[in-house]
Symmetry: C3
Subunit: 156 residues, 3 copies
Amino acid sequence: MTSPKLARSPPSTVSAPIIVSSLLTVQTSGSGFTDLTSEIAKFLAEAGAREGAVTLFVRHTSASLTIQENADPAVLHDLTTALDRVAPENAGWRHDTEGPDDMPAHIKTMLTATSLQIPVLKGELALGTWQAIYLIEHRRRPHRREIVLQFAGSTA
Amino acid sequence: MTSPKLARSPPSTVSAPIIVSSLLTVQTSGSGFTDLTSEIAKFLAEAGAREGAVTLFVRHTSASLTIQENADPAVLHDLTTALDRVAPENAGWRHDTEGPDDMPAHIKTMLTATSLQIPVLKGELALGTWQAIYLIEHRRRPHRREIVLQFAGSTA
Amino acid sequence: MTSPKLARSPPSTVSAPIIVSSLLTVQTSGSGFTDLTSEIAKFLAEAGAREGAVTLFVRHTSASLTIQENADPAVLHDLTTALDRVAPENAGWRHDTEGPDDMPAHIKTMLTATSLQIPVLKGELALGTWQAIYLIEHRRRPHRREIVLQFAGSTA
């Protein structure tokens, strides 16, 4: 049925999903990455999540989400460098009343993710071995950031 | 249970979600941002949405979505500048039969969002204070753009 | 009710959604695009999907997803060029133990999509005429990539 380079497992089905919502507050310590993976796993455990998906939504325009390698910290350093090169400070931005790091923060947010969805299978986040879920703070100073968590699916 | 810099609200749960779908058509007036927030709020009100999430999906490859600051118009101007710098016209693109602004439009679409998900809590979009939902037209000329709206969750 | 440049179709509603999950494995032949559209349509047909949405989630940090033009292969070539310009090899990255194409692959993944959601209406993917769903392999060598597929909605 499928071409040789594609394979697909038999589908598993659940019915009667419920929706569980929660608000996660993260105090960042300035620009950089915060690993949210274990906190989201705790939320799913408390919700009794079995099969479905969890949605993350950042309620800000100068912080965002990404799923990235969790092994070598140099990866996170280089991702920051790459974003700084695409959205440098003092590059002729008109919006500068909130400081030179504000407009670059908006651009970096646009180029990464404000919302993310991760499937949940057998009660576990369906992440790959090397994947972690990160909040990226794009402002230089510490901020209090709010992330809506929402699981939709079946529960134990 | 959580580390000091993280806090999470008690989960709220609803059951028996329904799915409500609609097609939103937007006539753009050429390249730039169209604020869709109030139109999506109207859709949710008509659907009687209470708790769940709304998905937006753009049915085009030269227009896209972003959630960005709604206060200072200079932010949208600078976002356009940033996208133009990453995807300039006349930069040696092979695909040029549809005009010099077409291939940059595809690149800008790839770097922003074709699908977005926003949680809905107590009947309201769970946006932050400064967030608005924008359609970005990347072509120079006006276009008729189609966006699928879909709410999944509980209703009043 | 709506402004002249916006129009919205009457909402259609379904109840009692189910969730169908499957794992798609793709053997890539090195860097480039693999069109997943027909395989996802097969998954939806086998699941008896009617109305809802399908989520795709890539379980890797050096391969990602995009929805792009399916007509002119030059578009895919130019998208690759654009990503190479934003994330070139040998650009002073600290993370280089896995080869010069590894850190650029992580950056390209961050700038495109790890998760995507596509509405399903009347049993069909609600894609536009020119849209296809692509897996982008960012590493030079062939890799075996896993993508979680999940449909949530009503079934026949």
